[in-house]
């Protein structure tokens, strides 16, 4: 990754994204503010998502984000999915909430390599993102 890209990514942490949704960084956490709710994307969660779902990830059987995705655009999509998506309880005793949102445009690829337009975000009971992936 180039120094310029790294610099841009770190700068993006401090940017206000929209009038309603904002991201701030503190001690390794970036907080995604969605009105009354505040969803936190930890560095651990980001690394988890990048390891499995980034365009260059070699993980099989997992949806991949489209080439060109950045930490900032991921955060934007998580914001949008949590704010506007359909929420349901996590399944079979897993803690947390699942949000799903259809962006009506391709955001990545499915496990079969086809176009994925939807995002699933799993959020813990502490309002921390656990994982997020296109499908």
């Amino acid at each position: 990754m180039s120094l310029r890209l790294l610099t841009a990514l770190f700068l993006a942490f401090g940017l206000l994204l929209t009038a309603d949704l904002s991201v701030a960084q503190s001690a390794g956490y970036s907080q995604v503010q969605t009105g009354a709710d505040q969803i936190v994307l930890t560095r651990w969660a980001l690394q988890h998502i990048m390891a499995r779902h980034w365009p260059d990830s070699t993980a099989t059987g997992a949806g991949k984000f489209q080439a060109g995705i950045t930490e900032a655009s991921l955060r934007d999509m998580i914001n949008e999915a949590v704010h506007n998506g359909r929420a349901r309880h996590n399944t079979h005793g897993r803690p947390g909430t699942i949000y799903e949102y259809d962006f009506q445009r391709q955001i990545g690829t499915t496990i079969d390599g086809g176009p994925a337009t939807r995002l699933r975000v799993v959020v813990s009971n502490r309002n921390e993102v656990i994982t997020a992936f296109p499908f």
Partner: protein, 144 residues
């Protein structure tokens, strides 16, 4: 029904402090070996949280035994699923990623899931003895 697993090597996890969320999403990862009759529903993706799968399958069997007509297991990192549909004393098994429908007796499915959970617990405790004292491990895999 043949239900088994391949556990990835893990020398980094502190098993005395893992949380339920860790076990549901981040540790004890591996592959699922899953045959129902002549149908192969195995998943060799390498990232499947096996403790979560064992606990979820156990809950699914409990619900089917309790009268539920259908239960669906969702994988943690994709929209892939395994569906269990009860038909009398039989269970029909289908997946989003494999062809066909497998059929098994409910009591056999229950035994297979119980055995899976016990074997996984034994292997994890053999590899990581400190896990025996972890409340989340005991909750999801049963008391030792």
């Amino acid at each position: 029904m043949h239900l088994d697993y391949r556990l990835n090597e893990d020398r980094e996890t502190d098993w005395s402090s893992v949380t339920e969320e860790d076990l549901r999403y981040r540790v004890a990862l591996g592959n699922l070996v899953f045959h129902v009759g002549d149908k192969d529903f195995s998943a060799d993706w390498g990232w499947i949280p096996l403790v979560d799968l064992a606990a979820s399958f156990a809950e699914i069997v409990r619900k089917l035994e309790g009268g539920s007509a259908s239960e669906t297991f969702e994988f943690t990192e994709s929209d892939s699923w395994v569906r269990f549909e009860r038909k009398g004393e039989k269970v029909l098994v289908s997946t989003s990623y494999g062809d066909g429908v497998g059929e098994i007796a409910l009591h056999a499915a229950s035994e297979a899931v119980k055995s899976f959970r016990e074997r996984l617990r034994s292997e994890l405790l053999r590899q990581h003895p400190q896990a025996a004292h972890n409340a989340a491990v005991r909750k999801l895999l049963g008391a030792v």
